[in-house]
Amino acid sequence: MTAVVLASGAVFVALAFAVGAVVAGLARFVPPSWFRASTPWALTILLPLACALTASLALFLPAPFGSCHCAAHDHHPHICFGHPALAQPLLVPASLLLAVWLVSVLPGVVRLAVGLLGSFRRIHAVRRLTPERVGETEVRFVDSGAAIAFTAGVRAPVIVLDRALWAALGERDREAVLAHERGHVDRADALTSLVLRACLALQPWLPWSLFERWQHAAELHCDRHAAERVGDPSAVAEALVSVGRLRAAHADTDPAHLGVFGASGLEDRVASLLEPRSAPGSARRNDVVAIVLPMLGVLALVMVWPGDLLHHAVETLLGLLHH
């Protein structure tokens, strides 16, 4: 019984690593101008886990509508709750692989969990500030001493604006900033960010740049969303530059924290607004929902239709690796 569970777990890790290596390898050669929508970048982080989960479940729960085929093959180990003793040869290698994976992911998972606790505490404190309405949008104004405008929180995201920033911006800039933040709320980007961070913590071999590319693409979507609301992409580009100027007055950036886009992030966003052909649409769907729903469909299909096929394929692969 233990061997069956450990073998399924080890298959999950091995496949996530293999698919992740392929995805990360391919992504390295993809120029930033190719995929400017956020969903493909979210997919690069979710796909390895989805493939691994499908194979692992197919192994763990073989052929729900079929019968056990253990007696029919003898060229590979069998992972089957009916005959757990047949999985015994996989016990040691599976345990070793899982142990290595757990040790490698533990620091990242703990760091993420601790960070999240702090984030949720801070967001809770921000949420208790008196809300004010700007048009139809509820915002929290703060006197932060920095040119900040952000959206935070998963369940009920809160939009936070610095009072001095707000006072310094013109009417069109304000409209653009608010519409951009509304875009993040509508797309539930904080939820996607959280899911992707959790998935990255489980796959320490994936490069951080995949997440940064998703983040940048999400910003492009929200810029486009703001451009549609304001009715003028140049107005959003101007708002970006205005906030950039106010930010420059408080610049104390640590170069070590610069992301994959570095100084080109702002430049690329402005260029995308001025060149609509190079920009993604204002997709309002949530990336996790857009990916997970079809994946669940594929998973259900794999479990029901080929039935034993995937289970048998993974067992054969294990047999090849084991011998």
Binding site: I123, A125, A152, L191, S193, E238, G259
Partner: protein
């Protein structure tokens, strides 16, 4: 109402501010002294110094009553902690430090004034081109 950004406070300053927040009216130094629970008890002059420091930082307001001052907090407890939390959130790198935060402009974005000038010129040129 706009107020200055919330400065960092020491443990004693926070304890005194907690007393002011817990009372609906302005308090004298002696009243604060009776409410602060510390071991060993604080001296009158210590509380006076702390309140003076809080006033200097713009955290409390004071009004003269006879020969002494009465102190009250400038902002509510919620506003105080909310502002501090917002600053902490804003100073973080979205995604890397804060997994559930999306900023209009990344706080780690290096904003070069020359680049901003170049972008402004680009936007102006685009507007000019469209107007023709």
């Amino acid at each position: 109402m706009s107020s200055p950004p919330s400065p960092a406070l020491g443990e004693l300053e926070t304890a005194v501010l907690d007393v002011l927040w817990s009372c609906p009216t302005a308090l004298s130094v002696r009243e604060v002294l009776t409410h602060v629970r510390r071991r060993p008890p604080l001296a009158y002059t210590t509380v006076l110094t702390v309140l003076d420091r809080l006033h200097g930082k713009g955290v409390v307001v004071r009004e003269k009553e006879g020969k002494a001052y009465r102190y009250s907090p400038r902002v509510t407890r919620e506003a105080w902690f909310g502002e501090r939390a917002a600053r902490a959130l804003a100073g973080a790198a979205p995604g890397r430090d804060e997994a559930v935060l999306l900023a209009f402009l990344d706080s780690t974005e290096r904003v070069d004034p020359e680049l901003l000038d170049k972008l402004s010129a680009l936007i102006a040129a685009r507007r000019g081109g469209r107007a023709k």
